[in-house]
């Protein structure tokens, strides 16, 4: 050993003869076989994941939520709806809604008073008007000897949000058999800027006049 060189401990096995050429080839073949198996398995999994409709049938079926089974019998039989208005557009709306709800129905007009101001200026007042019409229609139908299952009311109104006014419609239903009532506000849109001309003449201008009065934007109010 020359100076400056460290003497390293002998490595175990060093200097021994490596496994024979036959043993090395066998090991190499075993590793290749193992790799082939892994690649084949991965390819099979990928093929399953990408398979379109054919294999989808093997997935568990989706959960289906059953419709309620305790719906009142009246909803499946012929239903008479007493509507508290003679307005054609409102009656058509009730008929359209009834088409979706009942397999057989009859829409009858029994105009009823809303019991609120001619131009409701809040959602609460609008819905009160709708409920009053529904109740009134049910009572009027009964007086007329018509056995209506539901009274229906629709009322148009305004709602102020910030400095702006929005058109809102309130709808209500009243069931004769249980005396249960329900109401809901409908979607609404912004009411165009009023131009009343300071007059209450005519239905259209009366609405504008009321908006002007409430918003205090009308110079002629």
């Amino acid at each position: 050993m020359e100076d400056g060189q460290l003497e390293l401990p002998p490595v175990e096995g060093a200097g021994q003869q490596a496994p024979g050429a036959e043993g090395g080839e066998a090991l190499e073949a075993a590793v290749e076989q193992e790799l082939d198996a892994i690649v084949a398995g991965a390819a099979s999994l990928a093929a399953q994941a990408l398979a379109p409709d054919g294999d989808a049938a093997q997935l568990p079926p989706p959960t289906v939520v059953a419709p309620p089974t305790d719906a009142p019998a009246a909803l499946t039989d012929g239903v008479v709806l007493a509507v508290g208005t003679a307005n054609r557009a409102k009656l058509d709306s009730v008929a359209s809604a009834a088409e979706r709800m009942f397999s057989a129905h009859s829409v009858r007009a029994f105009p009823a008073d809303s019991g609120v101001s001619a131009q409701p200026m809040s959602v609460a007042e609008t819905m009160d008007g709708a409920l009053n019409r529904a109740q009134g229609a049910l009572a009027a139908a009964e007086e007329a000897g018509v056995s209506a299952e539901f009274g229906v009311g629709i009322e148009g109104g305004l709602e102020q949000i910030g400095q702006r006014w929005f058109e809102r419609a309130g709808s209500a239903s009243s069931e004769r058999r249980t005396a249960r009532r329900a109401s809901a506000p409908a979607v609404g849109t912004r009411s165009p800027a009023p131009s009343c001309g300071g007059s209450r003449e005519g239905r259209s201008s009366a609405r504008s006049w009321m908006i002007c009065q409430a918003s205090r934007t009308c110079a002629q109010a």
Binding site: P68, D70, A71, P72, L75, N87, R88, A89, K90, D92, S93, V94, S96, A97, R100, M101, A130, F150, V152, I154, E167, A169, G170, S171, A172, S173, E175, R180, A182, S183, A184, P185, A186, V187, G188, T189, R190, S191, P192, S195, R203, S204, S205, R207
Partner: protein, 51 residues
């Protein structure tokens, strides 16, 4: 609304909602949605409407 839109008797037809949506959402359809909501408690399971 009649003056503003230049149409006659808007109230009995499209309504203001129909006019401002250019006829895409007539008033009658807005009413229909509200009516379905108003009937909701009679259409669905009672557990949704507990007092």
């Amino acid at each position: 609304m009649d003056d503003l839109s230049g149409k006659s008797d808007v109230r009995s037809g499209l309504g203001m909602m129909g006019v401002v949506t250019n006829g895409l959402l007539p008033r009658a359809e807005c009413y229909t949605h509200g009516l379905l909501f108003a009937f909701a408690r009679f259409l669905s399971d009672a557990r949704y409407w507990a007092p």
